[in-house]
């Protein structure tokens, strides 16, 4: 925020950055080679629903967009009032999943709800341990790993391991205080 905005006491809503989303398919290959983790095919978009008819109308549009595809989509609201639009499929084609997630993101952004986007989550599993989530923060354009292991507990060691493996493929959030947990997110 610039000096002028500070003086006038106004903050512009942060704009989302969707580009880094497309780095995921190549990172998934690295993740499979390095940690035997495969994508589960589940991905979700978390958004803060705004009140009023504007957002409700948009929700219908997204529903139609998603219905046109044969994949399975669900939408649920969590205890914080955030909406999770989840796409479940087989883990085979990750770039297809990323393209679908991007379509949802882009339609929200085009309708003026870009500031309402919180994160995108894609899950991985297969090495016998707890499933690993990769969370994309729109406002920073960065990724971070999230490995919940129970009620309000996360496996920090494995998260740091994922960061070490993916460090060169993805833009990993460097500020660890921003690796905020998303308990009870779909697929985890």
């Amino acid at each position: 925020m610039g000096l002028f905005d500070t003086i006038l006491g106004r903050s512009k809503p942060a704009k989302p950055d969707l580009d880094e989303l497309f780095a995921l398919p190549s990172a998934a290959i690295t993740l499979e080679a390095g940690m035997r983790l495969k994508p589960t095919g589940t991905g979700s978009v978390c958004v803060k629903p705004a009140e009023g008819g504007g957002f409700a109308g948009l929700r219908e549009q997204i529903q139609q967009l998603l219905d046109a595809d044969n994949d399975k989509y669900t939408e649920k609201t969590d205890s914080f009032g955030f909406s999770w639009i989840t796409r479940e499929g087989d883990g085979g084609d990750l770039s297809d999943l990323v393209a679908d997630l991007h379509a949802v993101n882009a339609s929200l952004q085009d309708a003026g709800f870009g500031p309402a986007l919180l994160c995108t989550l894609v899950t991985f599993s297969g090495d016998g341990g707890a499933p690993v989530g990769l969370v994309y923060l729109y406002k920073r354009g960065t990724w971070y790993p999230f490995v919940p292991t129970g009620q309000d507990k996360r496996d920090n060691a494995r998260e740091l391991q994922v960061r070490a493996v993916l460090g060169s493929d993805l833009k990993i959030e460097s500020d660890l205080s921003r690796w905020f947990p998303v308990w009870g997110a779909p697929g985890l």
Binding site: D5, R10, E51, G57, D110, A111, L137, K139, R140, W183
Partner: protein, 306 residues
């Protein structure tokens, strides 16, 4: 379809705030000009007031927490409060402030700290009991907007002149009383000059008081606006305001007095509604004004997707 924003800027509010700031700036210039014209050396007073205000600014987070009996809580102790703050910070792309809880039944929340990296957001147990998640989120987004707008720094700067003027009034009064001012002053201005300085300081103090109060009200409206933009739910904030201000009337006076010095950064001032002196003197805009602004934002949000 081009990307567009659902939140057009409020030029009227920005203009009123700029005008208030301009008046405060003009006051600064007038005071400095008067001081130069009368050859008064007030270096000592400026340094004293500056030092006091800097300490207040620098330790604002600790002082406010101490004053309210707030305690910084870990995510394990207050998972829900931390969860809300986490998400709001991720939405707004700002560093996460420290989160504190004050164990008091006064329904209120405040944010303070000299910059976003040293900020603390505090909610009382009273407000957490009374509001649901959505309303609490609205209140916290209002407080986070105060942090993002650096309101502690702005208000400290704006109130500096008033504090200096208050000091000068007192010093001039005592030196006039004991006749010691002209002996210390190189230019030998004498008693009439002391009287003029005192009169000017009193006027400056009064003007500066009114202007900083006006500025504070505009900052509150800005924080309401930015908070509603962040959550996309102006109505939740409006409903929280109604709940909290309605409850305010029932607070006993003793608690009120204890809470009063921190009013400037409160969500709603800790004064009962019946005690409203005049809208000119209050740090917060009236409930009607705040609700009207939130209703306007709500209408803008409701416009269908084209």
């Amino acid at each position: 379809m081009a990307t567009r924003s659902r939140f057009p800027a409020d030029h009227g509010l920005a203009a009123r705030m700029t005008f208030t700031m301009f008046l405060i700036g003009a006051l600064y210039v007038a005071v400095i000009a008067a001081l130069i014209a009368y050859h008064v050396n007030i270096g000592f007073i400026v340094i004293l007031a500056g030092g006091l205000l800097f300490a207040q600014y620098y330790f604002s987070d600790k002082m406010a927490l101490y004053g309210m009996g707030g305690r910084i809580v870990t995510p394990e102790e207050a998972p829900e409060l931390h969860g809300i703050v986490d998400r709001l910070c991720a939405l707004a792309n700002m560093p996460k402030p420290k989160v504190a809880i004050a164990d008091t039944d006064i329904p209120n929340a405040f944010a303070t700290g000299r910059n976003p990296n040293n900020a603390v957001v505090c909610a009382t147990t009273g407000i957490m009991r009374r509001l649901n998640t959505e309303e609490l989120e609205g209140v916290l987004s209002h407080e986070l907007s105060h942090v993002a707008h650096r309101d502690v720094a702005v208000m400290t700067f704006a109130s500096f002149l008033g504090m200096v003027a208050g000091f000068i009034t007192r010093f001039a009064f005592y030196s006039g009383l004991f006749g010691g001012y002209d002996r210390r002053d190189r230019d030998n201005n004498g008693a009439p000059a002391v009287a003029v300085i005192m009169l000017v300081s009193i006027v400056v103090y009064a003007l500066s008081f009114l202007l900083t109060r006006a500025l504070s009200r505009y900052r509150e409206l800005s924080a309401d606006r930015a908070g509603a933009m962040l959550t996309g739910r102006p109505s939740a904030l409006a409903s929280a305001l109604q709940k909290v201000t309605g409850d305010m009337a029932r607070i006993p006076t003793r608690d009120l007095r204890a809470a009063e010095p921190f009013n400037a950064f409160f969500f709603t001032p800790a004064l009962a509604n019946g005690f409203s002196i005049s809208s000119l003197f209050s740090t917060h805009p009236s409930l009607e004004k705040r609700l009207a602004q939130l209703a306007k934002i709500s209408t803008q949000l409701g416009q269908p997707v084209s």
